[in-house]
């Protein structure tokens, strides 16, 4: 039991260090979650009885700001190929944009900054291991995390829309870690005028 507790604390500690590495700019905009399958996060041995701050209520600081009115993108033509090479992959149960993926974000930002008539759709996807409800929210959180990263790279927030597909559109239909790692992703779809 003790060993388990220690392992949990270690995982939490490790998870907490991730944003500092992965997202230097705005560490408060990312949501580190202990990501290991064996994690007992709540109410078990390491249960946070009455402890642990709940975020909701008063906090502000939405990274990318409000989404643009969807009508802005209604008549634009989606090009799924143009930015397909820059699909960003996520860690299990995480919406943190890894430092190894920042180069892709920079490429997408460069593309958008070079042709300002274009816009961008960001699709957030999950692997099949979360519940459907949870994954819908996580997928959207991933899309929003990429939007924040692009805003930080100089792209205007109102040129981007986000869509969550949850676990509905896997890139790989398999049921193993290789498939799952390909399915935890954010796709960039260029929108042409």
């Amino acid at each position: 039991m003790k060993a388990l507790k220690f392992a949990n604390l270690l995982m939490i500690a490790l998870a907490l260090t991730v944003p500092a590495v992965g997202c230097k700019k705005k560490p408060t905009n990312v949501t580190p979650l202990p990501g290991q399958p064996g994690y007992v996060g709540d109410g078990g041995a390491a249960g946070l009885e009455g402890g642990g701050a709940l975020g909701p209520g008063s906090e502000t600081g939405a990274g990318g700001g409000p989404l643009a009115d969807p009508s802005r993108f209604a008549n634009m033509k989606p090009d799924r190929e143009a930015l397909a090479a820059y699909t960003v992959y996520f860690d299990f149960d995480s919406s943190v944009v890894r430092s190894s993926e920042q180069g892709k974000v920079a490429e997408v930002a460069a593309s958008l900054n070079s042709s300002t008539a274009n816009a961008l759709r960001i699709e957030g996807h999950c692997d099949e291991r979360g519940t459907e409800g949870y994954n819908l929210s996580l997928g959207e959180r991933r899309a929003l995390a990429l939007r924040e990263a692009l805003v930080a790279a100089g792209v205007s927030a109102d040129r981007m829309e986000t869509i969550s597909y949850g676990e509905e559109r896997p890139a790989d239909a398999g049921h193993d870690e290789i498939a799952w790692s390909k399915n935890r992703r954010g796709e960039f779809i260029l929108l042409l005028p």
Partner: protein
């Protein structure tokens, strides 16, 4: 939402029931020991065959009845269905008939459902049968998903979104009405629609920028809770039933999911995270204010809560290697894992739950009687995977 059997004429037979002795017996039986701890009510069945017999057995099994020989049974269920269903129930211990009735009109199947509702009411006075209730669910159809509505046992299923050729998900009934809310991608993005199943008419309830997800109508149908990302964060909102008067209830970098209402309408329960990680269930007043945590001890990673209609329990999914269907007292406390599976939705009787079971590479709807842990699969509605069940109530 209970669909009454309008064409059916109930012929009330002899109501010899309700002696003091049998009332006392019944009282001890209705008392529950706790989730998963109750013994099933032992009944025997005779005189029925074919579809009528299987309907009666299915209906009663998922409400905590078990079929045994007449010698072991506490209640004897007997009857016939030559032309129409006739049935009676006898308390074997006190040798008293509880009721005897015959049914006509509609179909034998509907008559059998009506009979089992009477059986439940006679053996457990004050409780409500579920045999004539409806469900909705998501059905995978190639790359698309559709919303289906069906009887609670999967019979008579029809798609209400078949023409859309897109993703439709997260169905939720407006309580007491022939209307559903769900998310559809039919206009290219996830938006929340209200769908009147009697007229087929649809209206957008939330079509904001970003994703519009997981609608939950309030118990009186006047409001809707939902998860939106319009602010640039995934947060919980509440609005009038038509989407007007939108109010943001959470403002955080964490992401909320799967709202549901307490039956008195005073709370919206949902899944979220603690700062720095750790998933929790929480609740907030639809008027706004502080978010309160609902403690679930003994299990991890809770999500997809659903509040029982009697207000006492919250069913939810825990993730501990695999999905586990759990219940916890609504005020929080020790959670009980009852079955593998996820995404529970309570029946109007506050004891049966419909959920999604994973097995054989497929998702199947399944019914769980919470007090006895008796589980039975719902026959496949259509397509391949069936999931996200929602009970009309």
């Amino acid at each position: 939402m209970k669909r009454p059997l309008q064409t059916l004429h109930l012929t009330l037979g002899l109501m010899l029931a309700a002696s003091l002795a049998s009332a006392q017996t019944e009282l001890t039986i209705t008392k529950t020991a706790g989730p998963g701890l109750d013994k099933p009510t032992l009944v025997s069945l005779s005189g029925f065959s074919g579809e009528v017999a299987s309907v009666i057995q299915f209906d009663l099994y998922v409400q905590g009845f078990k079929f045994v020989s007449p010698e072991e049974a506490q209640y004897l269920i007997s009857g016939s269905h030559a032309g129409n269903v006739q049935g009676r129930v006898t308390d074997r211990l006190v040798k008293q008939p509880l009721f005897s009735r015959s049914y006509s009109g509609a179909s034998l199947r509907r008559q059998a459902h009506a009979f089992t509702d009477d059986v439940v009411q006679a053996i457990r006075p004050g409780s409500q049968g579920i045999a004539q209730t409806r469900i909705a669910c998501k059905v995978e159809s190639g790359a698309n998903t559709e919303i289906y509505v069906a009887d609670f046992d999967g019979f008579g299923a029809t798609s209400i979104t078949g023409g859309d050729k897109t993703l439709a998900k997260s169905p939720a009934w407006v309580p007491g009405r022939s209307a559903l809310l769900y998310t559809s991608y039919k206009r290219g993005r996830p938006e929340i629609f209200r769908h009147d199943t009697s007229t087929g008419s649809r209206a957008v309830v939330a079509g904001y920028g970003g994703s519009n997800l997981m609608p939950a109508p309030s118990p009186d149908g006047s409001r809707v809770a939902m998860v939106l990302s319009k602010s640039g964060m995934v947060d919980l909102y509440v609005a009038n039933a038509d989407g007007s008067n939108l109010k943001q209830l959470t403002r955080s970098t964490e992401y909320e999911s799967s709202p549901c209402w307490s039956p008195d309408g005073n709370w919206i329960c949902f899944a979220t995270q603690l700062k720095g990680g750790g998933r929790v269930l929480a609740k907030v007043s639809p008027a706004g204010g502080d978010v309160q945590r609902i403690r679930v001890a003994g299990v991890s990673r809770p999500s997809e809560p659903d509040w029982s209609p009697d207000g006492k329990w919250i069913a939810f999914t825990a993730q501990m290697g695999s999905f586990q269907l759990c219940v916890v007292p609504a005020e929080g406390g020790a959670a009980t894992a009852l079955s593998g599976g996820d995404d529970p939705s309570w029946a109007p009787n506050s004891r049966t739950v419909i959920f999604t079971r994973h097995g054989g590479g497929r998702q199947t709807l399944s019914l769980l009687d919470v007090p006895t842990k008796q589980v039975k699969d719902v026959p496949r509605i259509s397509g391949s995977n069936n999931s996200q069940p929602a009970w009309a109530r």
